[in-house]
Symmetry: C2
């Protein structure tokens, strides 16, 4: 393949979901004679599912490589000049070039670009406290992190685990460690786990986690990690108490990895993520695109920018960028903030705005909460679920839905996600023609029950 | 309760989902002093789930009474003058009265009304052929039918069952009889089972049913039921063959029960169902409402009227009628034709138009079919599903979705049902923010994969 013959060069920084989706999609649209594609990845892996790490650690997924959607070799076979273990250290916007360093040899060189894609992802928030780097304390951001944690679990005799943080990663890691036979304590700064839900819904998660044998410590900030004589972790300390720990998992969340972009003068928003237009082009820059965990996304419900690190957005960004870079046209209009997760058999879902989001966005609303079942009440396996729904006063527009339940609860949030995207009112939702048969739903789907109650409350208001 | 003091009287014909929902909702809005409610039901039961009968016959639901949402006594306790085993035999529209006959005594009397609700439901299509009434041949429309079938199953020593018809009721009854240990043959007039799907998707149901040990006979019309010397069914005959049968279940579908309404001169459509306005008022009649299986509904995708016998519509109609009769306001805007069903672990769903519906409605379209998985491919329990999607040429509007798969396939159709209701294009759907986590979905939900393929095909067309 004569890459030097290409009429233009695309450089991609970051070899995971957004970057490699963009590269692959651009390659589908333009062959090597028209577009040279150079991609830099500082780690050992490309295109893997970080979201799958908790299930690998928990044993549901046996092999690390199952999480890898496409290997470096596969990307290269598709005509992408992929440079692994090569870290981009500088973007020279005016000069249209990037400086990259071979991680192993330290050798540096400049590569010029006609078009640039920034997909540098996110970095985990590591608490600044004594002992945070002690052996036995693990993040779960990368495949290397996952392997290190598994190595620790294999070596450690004690069975006490402390998870710091009770968001998605925290609760998923709690499940993983329960599945590995650990006594699990989750230490959470908030008043209830899953702060992506309102506290009344988080309370349901709390109760279910305790039902699973997980010890939930709320309103507690970890102040230090205590180590033993061997230097390994032995406990986690909060202001009020100590929690013995043979292993500690940090699941506090992530921030956009935008140091490189900021150093190059590219615009970031109040969450420190790159700001783009609807075509995922970095604002003010004709030939630079960005996507995935390093950008902010438009929340279509609140009209405000958010940072959401989620593989499904990263993949969509990559497709959109690839189409635009490859001479096509596509946009990413924004998100409504949908997320699903589970802790053992408890399913947790949300979309749209929580009460505090609605207030912050200046919206007045009514909130209702209902209980219903996943199937017709008489059908085997019917389980309770709780649905909370917010709707705007005056307009009646759906603002958000939160669901906590068992099998069949989580993906019901998609009904609300589509309704939010379409700007439906809760009154309109009461007439939705959703799938009904006794093994699948009560005659009124739980989402419809919530919509009816919300519509009724709005009429009475 | 002094009902004679009420300022007006509502008469309801039919004590099942639509009629009793209407009565209950009207009662919630108006007390007995303002509205007298008289309801007539010719059978033994009120407000039961006919959709649940296959699961009761199959043993998933143990007791008949679990299918009864509200008993006559419960309705009466709410101030509804419910007259069981009383059949309305005539509607006198000009005189604003109905004639009713006590089924047991034969006594007849007239009851006047200010407002009338017709909720006479549907009647099963019984093939006109020799032997159709022989002992051992059963419909499954009512609780009495279900009990009669269960009695036959308990008495019959042979284990060969023939199900006539391969629509929802047919395939659900096939499952029920498999669960009861029968050898099941399904005789189907169409080229594939589930004619509510396109034949290419019906083919997948066919294959799965055979995998479950069900013998599927397509393109075959039952010509007669053969009986033995004892007068009981012994086989089912088609033009080409005979299928030995110890029990026969008729699951051919239903038609609106509108003989009473037609005799009274009320308007019916081309499916023989009553025609109503959006408030469920019978067209041209200020004080008569109708809902449930006896009416036609507006298909919002094709703009044409259809007859769909489904409990979820009947309940919605009842709510709407009750609100309007009770002095409130509500409408039933129409359906998009969503339906879900299952045969053992096979889930079957559809919404919107099939190819032939689209052609009949004068729509030009592109159709795509994709295979994907219910969860991330690496996550335990991920199972294949096939999604077929139709989109209109030029506008790109979603026209319909059909899904055949295992766990997690059926209710995914709700995503498309909401998108259809909102008039979304498949291009818009590619950006939908659906719930993603490895236990719930691949990073691109199967519905999004189909939308991407449809959008791409439309762009290329």
């Amino acid at each position: 393949m004569n890459m030097s013959a290409a009429s233009e060069r695309l450089v991609v920084i970051g070899g995971d979901a957004a970057g490699m989706s963009a590269a692959s999609q651009a390659r589908r649209l333009k062959g090597p004679e028209a577009l040279e594609i150079v991609a830099f990845e500082r780690g050992h892996f490309t295109s893997y599912s970080a979201c799958g790490i908790p299930y690998w650690v928990g044993g549901d997924v046996e092999e690390r490589d199952e999480l890898i959607a496409r290997t470096p070799e596969e990307h290269r076979a598709r005509g992408i000049d992929l440079r692994m273990r090569t870290e981009v250290t500088e973007i020279d916007v005016a000069g249209q070039r990037v400086r990259a360093r071979d991680v192993d040899s330290g050798a540096e060189s400049w590569t010029s670009y006609d078009k640039l894609v920034i997909a540098t992802g996110a970095r985990p928030i590591r608490p600044e406290m004594p002992g945070a780097d002690a052996p036995g304390v693990h993040g779960v951001q990368t495949l290397d992190d996952g392997q290190a944690l598994l190595d620790t679990l294999a070596r450690t005799r004690g069975r006490r685990a402390v998870v710091v943080g009770a968001g998605y990663i925290g609760v998923e890691m709690a499940e993983a460690l329960i599945n590995r036979g650990y006594e699990v304590t989750v230490v959470n700064r908030g008043s209830e786990p899953m702060s992506t839900l309102d506290a009344d819904m988080g309370r349901l998660v709390h109760e279910a986690m305790e039902g699973l044998g997980i010890t939930m410590v709320n309103d507690a900030t970890v102040t230090k990690v205590l180590t033993g004589e061997d230097g390994r972790v032995r406990a986690v300390a909060t202001e009020d108490a100590e929690y013995p720990a043979d292993v500690v998992v940090l699941g506090i969340g992530v921030r956009p990895e935008t140091s490189l972009a900021k150093a190059a003068g590219l615009p970031v928003g109040r969450h420190d993520g790159l700001l783009t237009d609807l075509a995922q082009r970095v604002r003010g820059h004709e030939n630079i695109w960005a996507g995935g965990d390093c950008v902010e996304v438009l929340d279509l419900v609140s009209g405000q920018e958010r940072h959401i690190a989620l593989g499904t957005h990263a993949n969509k960004h990559g497709q959109v960028i690839g189409a635009n870079v490859g001479g096509g046209y596509a946009t990413f209009p924004g998100v409504v903030g949908t997320a699903v997760s589970k802790v053992c058999d408890l399913e947790i879902a949300r979309t749209g705005l929580r009460e505090k989001d609605a207030r912050r966005a200046g919206l007045q609303y009514e909130a209702v909460t209902i209980e219903s079942t996943s199937r017709a009440g008489y059908y085997p396996g019917a389980s309770l679920m709780t649905v909370k729904m917010l709707a705007e006063r005056r307009t009646g527009r759906l603002l958000g839905v939160q669901i906590v339940g068992r099998e069949g609860a989580g993906k019901r949030v998609d009904i609300a996600a589509v309704a939010l995207t379409a700007g439906m009112t809760v009154e309109q939702m009461t007439a939705l023609d959703l799938g009904y048969a006794p093994p699948f739903s009560p005659v009124w789907d739980p989402v419809l029950v919530a919509a009816r109650k919300a519509a009724s409350k709005l009429r009475a208001a």
